[in-house]
C-alpha cells in the first residue's frame, strides 16, 4: 500500500482492535481521492506527440499517484516533459524513502517492550492531524473536521472499534449534501 493516510488508518484501526473489514474500508475511503488525482493527471502525463502510453507505464504511474507527485506534476504545463519528470521523480523518491521508513519502523517496533513508554501511541494522532492540517483551508473544512471528530467520539462506547471512524464518512456525505443545497 502506497498512500500514507490509508496506510496509517489501516494500521490505526487494526491496532485499536477494529475488525479487518472496517480497517480496509477506512483505508479505501481515504484512498478514493487518488482516483481523482489520476483523472486530473491524465492531460499532464499525456504524450505530447499523441502516442498512447504503454500499459506497463500506466501500471507504474498508478502506483506512484499520491498527493505529492500530483502536486508537483500539475505545476507544469500539460503534456510537457517537465510535468512527467516532476511526477516520476517525486513519486519514485517518496516511494523508496517511505517504504524504507516503514521497514525501519516495523523492525524497530519488534524491539520495543511497551511503545507507550516512548509515547508512540501519542505519535499516531499527531500523524493524522499533520495529514489533516493542510486540508483545513476554510471554515467549512474546520467545521466538518470538528463534527466528524465529535460524532466518532460519541460512537466509541457503542460501536465496535474501527466503526466510529467509518461513521465519519457519513458525516462527509451529509456535509456534501448540505453544501450542495446551499450553492
Amino acid at each position: 500500500m502506497f498512500t500514507g493516510a490509508s496506510q496509517f488508518a489501516l494500521v490505526g484501526v487494526l491496532g485499536a482492535g477494529g475488525g479487518a473489514l472496517a480497517a480496509v474500508l477506512t483505508a479505501l475511503l481515504l484512498g478514493a481521492r487518488n482516483s481523482l488525482y489520476a483523472v486530473s493527471l491524465r492531460p499532464f502525463l499525456r504524450d505530447p506527440h499523441g502516442r498512447s502510453t504503454p500499459w506497463w507505464r500506466v501500471l507504474g504511474r498508478a502506483q506512484i499517484t499520491i498527493d505529492e507527485s500530483t502536486a508537483m506534476a500539475i505545476r507544469y504545463p500539460e503534456g510537457t516533459r517537465q510535468a512527467r519528470h516532476a511526477f516520476w521523480t517525486t513519486g519514485v523518491a517518496i516511494f523508496v524513502l517511505w517504504n524504507l521508513g516503514t521497514l525501519v519502523g516495523a523492525l524497530g517496533a519488534a524491539a520495543l517492550d511497551d511503545p507507550r513508554t516512548l509515547g508512540l501511541d501519542a505519535a499516531v494522532p499527531a500523524g493524522f492531524i499533520a495529514l489533516l492540517w493542510p486540508r483545513l483551508r476554510d471554515r467549512s473544512a474546520v467545521a466538518l473536521a470538528l463534527v466528524s471528530a465529535a460524532v466518532a467520539l460519541a460512537l466509541v462506547p457503542v460501536l465496535r472499534p474501527g466503526l466510529p471512524v467509518l461513521a465519519a464518512a457519513l458525516v462527509a456525505v451529509a456535509a456534501e449534501r448540505l453544501t450542495r443545497r446551499r450553492t
Partner: protein, 103 residues
C-alpha cells in the same frame, strides 16, 4: 487477520489509482463525486485524530496522548514538518509518563 487486511487494502488502494487512468473520464467527472472525495479525507482524518487520542477499546479516557496532540498542534502552527510534529507529540507524552505527570 492482519495480513489479509494489509493485502486486501493494498490491492484496493492500487486499483482505485489505476481506475483513474483506465476508466473513461465521464464516469469519474461528476461534481458531486469530486466534492465528496475532497471531503472524505477531512472527515476520516479528524475522526482518526479524535479516536486515537481519546479511546482505549470502547472506552474514552484522557491521558498523555492529549498533551501530545496539543504539542503537535503547536508544532503545526509553527509550520513544523511532518516528522517533527510526530516526534514532538511522542516526546511530550513520553516525558509526561516518565515523570509520572500523566498516564
Amino acid at each position: 487477520m492482519i495480513w489479509p487486511a494489509v493485502i486486501a487494502g493494498s490491492i484496493g488502494c492500487y486499483l482505485l489509482k489505476l481506475a483513474g487512468y483506465v476508466i473513461p473520464e465521464r464516469f469519474l467527472e461528476g461534481e458531486r463525486l469530486r466534492r465528496l472525495t475532497a471531503l472524505l479525507p477531512i472527515a476520516l482524518l479528524a475522526a482518526l485524530v479524535a479516536v486515537q487520542t481519546f479511546s482505549v477499546g470502547t472506552t474514552l479516557q484522557i491521558d498523555a496522548r492529549l498533551a501530545g496532540l496539543a504539542a503537535a498542534i503547536i508544532a503545526l502552527l509553527l509550520r513544523a514538518p511532518f516528522l517533527v510534529v510526530v516526534l514532538v507529540a511522542a516526546i511530550t507524552a513520553a516525558v509526561l509518563r516518565a515523570t509520572g505527570l500523566a498516564g
